[in-house]
């Protein structure tokens, strides 16, 4: 048993309660503590991923209680990939928010809530019970409601209320599904549920699957359930928007959907068709609605809906290429969308507005910020050699090979539409002529995280080179394709 597995959650929970104790009035100390704890967890996740990617799945029994009695924690290559990516992006965003939070009052409370949200997100990735996933995802969600409303302006509060009530309905549906799972099979452990789900009738299985998919599709913002996302992500402070769009949707929504479709409900392949439909509608809707937006952050939020649609299409197609496309696209989109939100946050820090009509000629005023912003926009639009290009190509090839040529054509059209609105944004906001061209560059600490993310966007394509791919992405995909719980003995690896 690898004892490092509990460290991310334990460190973040300890940090979340240590910061109000020692640094309630002092925001510099709170910032330093935040950077310290996120770097500790980042190093821990590096060690954990080296262990998991070379040795395979690791299982941990909390409290020493064996499998049917206790809570088991598990890290396999799929969750370790998401763990590593989450902690990387979190560390970078924490560096950014030490400077950005100077504009807000009550900054130490921001660090507290941020740590608790990260504890929840990391907890989802290591748990194997369906109820454990529920508890951690509630912890992360409640912390994120508070963070969306952090600036206490009128629009932020309204966005937070909408997000909270809709998320509560999703939680209720998920809790109903958990109650039904317990009532029908008498166990909450995923492996035991799978072995006894052969005895359930199809109606019961479909009902549970329907409730779970609806609940988690609302957290992933797929199209019938998306209406909280433009308000919440555009009104949150910039580092919170970056975490929400970049990682929170992927971990809380997409990762659990992957677990549900590929590991739990293997006997219901029709779930994939539902996800495919949701994905196609999300892709089209996000791409078309992004054209009419004046607020730049709202445009980025609709672009997030569109890109998550790509991931859902990849999940719906299935097979080796489809799953590879989902993983690669979530990694690449995480880096590039976080870069874009940090970028618009830096622009807002220096100029005070995010409306596209009021910002002109940013290239003359802040050239380095413009460079990073253009990198991010080209990244999301899918221009080679950035990671998004390869992932969209993989999803399109997967669609053609699986016999859905119409979906492949739609993917190409939406990619062109995405490039269209980002180029329009670049022309009107960044590369136009400014009224006054006084150079007011963003502070260095805001530029450094953006630089790191820009480099990561460029080189994230190397995960697909066959030598590296075998060790990292292939193992995660093979978890998705053929999963077996039968060889989880007392902590031995298979």
């Amino acid at each position: 048993m690898n004892h490092l597995i509990i460290l991310p959650v334990a460190i973040y929970l300890g940090a979340g309660f240590l910061i109000p104790l020692i640094a309630r009035k002092d925001e510099v100390l709170a910032g330093i503590a935040g950077v310290l704890f996120t770097s500790l967890v980042f190093i821990t996740s590096l060690f954990l991923s080296i262990d998991v990617f070379t040795n395979g799945r690791t299982v941990y029994f909390a409290g020493g209680w064996e499998k049917p009695l206790g809570i088991t924690l598990m890290l396999d290559p799929l969750s370790c990939l998401f763990l590593l990516m989450t902690n990387t992006i979190t560390f970078i965003i924490m560096l950014y928010s030490t400077v950005y939070m100077k504009k807000f009052t009550g900054a130490p409370y921001f660090y507290t809530l941020f740590m608790i949200m990260l504890a929840g997100m990391n907890g989802i990735l290591i748990s194997m019970d369906i109820f454990n996933i529920y508890v951690f995802f509630e912890v992360a969600s409640i912390a994120s409601f508070t963070l969306v409303a952090f600036g206490l302006k009128a629009e932020e509060l309204e966005a937070s209320v909408k997000y909270t009530v809709m998320s509560f309905i999703a939680s209720t549906m998920i809790l109903f599904a958990i109650a039904l799972i317990y009532g029908l099979t008498g166990t909450l452990n995923i492996s035991a549920f799978m072995s006894s789900s052969a005895g359930l009738s199809t109606v019961h299985l479909w009902f549970i699957a329907g409730l779970l998919i609806s609940g988690f599709a609302l957290k992933t913002a797929l199209v019938p359930f998306h209406s909280w996302l433009p308000d919440a992500h555009s009104m949150a402070p910039a580092p919170i928007s970056a975490i929400l769009s970049g990682m929170f949707i992927k971990v809380v929504g997409l990762y659990v959907l992957i677990r549900i479709t590929t590991n739990i409900f293997i006997t219901l392949p029709q779930i994939r068709i539902v996800l495919l439909l949701f994905g196609v509608f999300s892709m089209l809707f996000g791409g078309l609605m992004a054209y009419g937006q004046k607020n730049i952050k709202r445009l980025y939020a609709y672009s997030t809906i569109s890109q998550i649609g790509y991931c859902a299409i990849g999940l719906g197609i299935g097979g080796y290429l489809g799953y590879l496309g989902v993983l690669m696209h979530s990694i690449a989109h995480g880096f590039s969308k976080a870069l874009l939100f940090l970028n618009i946050g830096a622009v807002e820090y220096m100029t005070g507005t995010t409306e596209a009509d009021q910002l002109k000629g940013l290239n003359d005023r802040m050239p380095v910020t413009t460079l990073f912003g253009s990198t991010g926009m080209l990244g999301i639009a899918g221009v080679p050699p950035m990671g998004n290009f390869w992932s969209k190509l993989i999803i399109i090839i997967a669609a053609i090979q699986a016999g859905y040529p119409g979906i492949a054509v739609l993917c190409v059209i939406v990619a062109v539409i995405t490039l269209g609105y980002f180029l329009k944004l670049q022309r009107t906001v960044y590369y136009s002529r400014a009224e006054e061209s006084v150079k007011a560059e963003a502070p260095k600490m805001l530029l450094l995280p953006m630089g790191i993310l820009a480099v990561l966007v460029f080189i994230s394509g190397i995960l697909l080179i066959p030598g590296i791919r075998q060790h990292s992405l292939d193992k995660a995909v093979s978890v998705m394709e053929n999963f077996s719980y039968t060889d989880i003995k007392t902590g031995d690896l298979q």
């Binding site: 509990i6 334990a10 240590l18 941990y60």
Partner: protein
């Protein structure tokens, strides 16, 4: 202390009832591994006792004995204590392992670390809910010429 709060009858009864509430909540917390209850229920009852004092005597009296800053620190201490107990289980082999000797069944000193965990959770829940209730109930809106505005919490103004 000025004469704020409710009438003398209410104050007298609150004075008598409050120690019983505290005793009941401590009994719920300490016997949490044998009888129903435990940390959360005991903590909520203790908060109820503090709210009774807050309603009967007014907030200056309560803040004289239990200021808000101490409540916030107790909150964090309770949570950190719980985490420390869980990490101490690592010495025994796994996270949350039950380290201390488990005595005979049905005694007070049985079941190892569960009683300590209950005490930490009771501390955290009571202090945390007290802070939440005080902050939620100290909001007073004043109608000024520009519209509504929050009264600064802690200042004494009549409406």
């Amino acid at each position: 202390m000025e004469n704020k709060g409710m009438s003398e009858i209410v104050k007298g009864i609150a004075r008598i009832v409050f120690p019983f509430i505290v005793l009941y909540s401590i009994s719920l917390i300490l016997y949490g591994h044998i009888t129903p209850g435990g940390g959360f229920a005991g903590g909520v009852v203790l908060t109820g006792g503090f709210v009774l004092l807050l309603l009967a005597f007014g907030k200056e009296y309560v803040f004289h004995f239990f200021p808000l800053e101490i409540a916030k620190s107790l909150d964090s201490t309770g949570a950190l204590g719980f985490l420390a107990i869980a990490l101490l289980g690592l010495l025994g082999g796994a996270f949350f392992y039950n380290l201390l000797p488990k005595g005979t069944l049905f005694n007070l000193w049985s079941a190892g670390t569960i009683m300590l965990s209950n005490i930490m959770i009771g501390l955290k829940v009571s202090a945390g809910l007290f802070v939440a209730i005080v902050i939620l109930s100290m909001a007073r809106l004043i109608r000024t010429k520009e519209g509504l505005r929050y009264k600064q919490s802690g200042k004494e103004e009549d409406q």
